[in-house]
Symmetry: C2
Subunit: 216 residues, 2 copies
């Protein structure tokens, strides 16, 4: 019996639905065939109401029995330790999976999220575009030579890299066919589709609850 | 016998000396008492000359016998698996160390490095200051309640968090005494001092070599 619980918000506005990072953990569990429950913390008051569990006021966090951890990257590496569907068990495969998982977080997302932030802030000139472009070009070179990042097969590193790259607008400039094909390949997986549909349903159901509460 | 090799540049200009990220791996080895060699790739031509080993053209990367990995965060987690001086061996301590290591990379450094980049680019108004400030405030709250991030003792998570926070200017606005004391505590450790001095000597020795080559 699994005791995995993925924590997310009880509700979010329509914009981020399908993008909230509990999707990463849902996707990993779906790939690995790990059963899990989803529980929630209130979106309202998120800045302060769960700081004891997530000191930056964000989601997701993950329970595995007594263990509790935040940071989607840490949750992914934890889940990867449970299934060779997410990470090869040989030392080289494991080291490379960890390496590319952290590359997604610290070499790509470290620029893509601030780049996106400046973009939606309406900066006249996005000063991170050069850096963003360089990283995407470097990654395009890697992806033009292999189908998946590690060991010729899908791993949790691909799950995370594809999730970082699928954020709207991040790939909206330049022509990088290998990267496009890679993101399409990853997000065409049934486990991704189920995780995404489940997240969207979760937040839609919250809409209905909110409406009933207002009506009642 | 250890087969650890830390790869860095053969030379860098004075500005980044003491900050190049091979220091993270040196520091970890010094804390754990792991012996290691330091080898180099040329700084000149770094954009392309070692892409097969580090696809973003950066350093460090780490060899452990046959294993080779890039991303300083991945190297740190690998080294942490070798010594309980870097990571507790119980499952809770291990999960929390991984969680805070990734928090340093993806919650703090994800804003601090782009913030610093905008700052040195001479942006009139740094649009990441609000976000940077929020993260530092959230971290100050955590650090005002504990000496070290995990298990009441120094771990590799502190090594990385302190290294992220000690970058010049990152803590230059706002008054956060717990964070100041934390960074001072971490960087007062003999292992940090040795790692930093060794890195600076390494690059200074390269200056002398360069001078001789020019004179010859």
């Amino acid at each position: 019996m699994s005791e995995l619980t993925i924590w997310t918000y009880d509700w979010v506005p329509e914009g981020p639905r399908g993008l909230v990072r509990d999707l990463r953990l849902r996707w990993a569990c779906e790939e690995a065939g790990l059963s899990y429950a989803v529980r929630t913390v209130p979106f309202d008051g998120r800045e302060t109401n769960h700081l004891a569990r997530q000191p930056f006021g964000q989601v997701p966090f993950l329970n595995d029995g007594e263990l509790e951890m935040f940071e989607s990257g840490a949750g992914l590496l934890h889940l990867a330790g449970k299934s060779d569907k997410l990470m090869p068990v040989d030392p080289v495969g494991e080291a490379q999976t960890r390496q590319w998982t952290i590359a997604a977080l610290n070499s790509i997302e470290m620029v893509s999220v601030p780049w996106w932030f400046l973009k939606v802030s309406g900066a006249e000139k996005n000063q991170l575009t050069g850096w963003m472009s360089l990283r995407l070009d470097q990654l395009e070179k890697v992806l033009s030579e292999r189908e998946w990042l590690v060991a010729g097969r899908f791993t949790v590193a691909d799950l995370l890299m594809a999730d970082v790259l699928r954020v709207p607008d991040v790939r909206s400039f330049g022509d990088r066919p290998a990267t496009e094909a890679y993101v399409a390949r990853a997000t065409d997986r049934p486990a991704f589709k189920k995780a995404r549909a489940d997240q969207i349903s979760h937040f839609e159901a919250a809409d209905e609850r909110r409406s009933r509460q207002k009506a009642g």
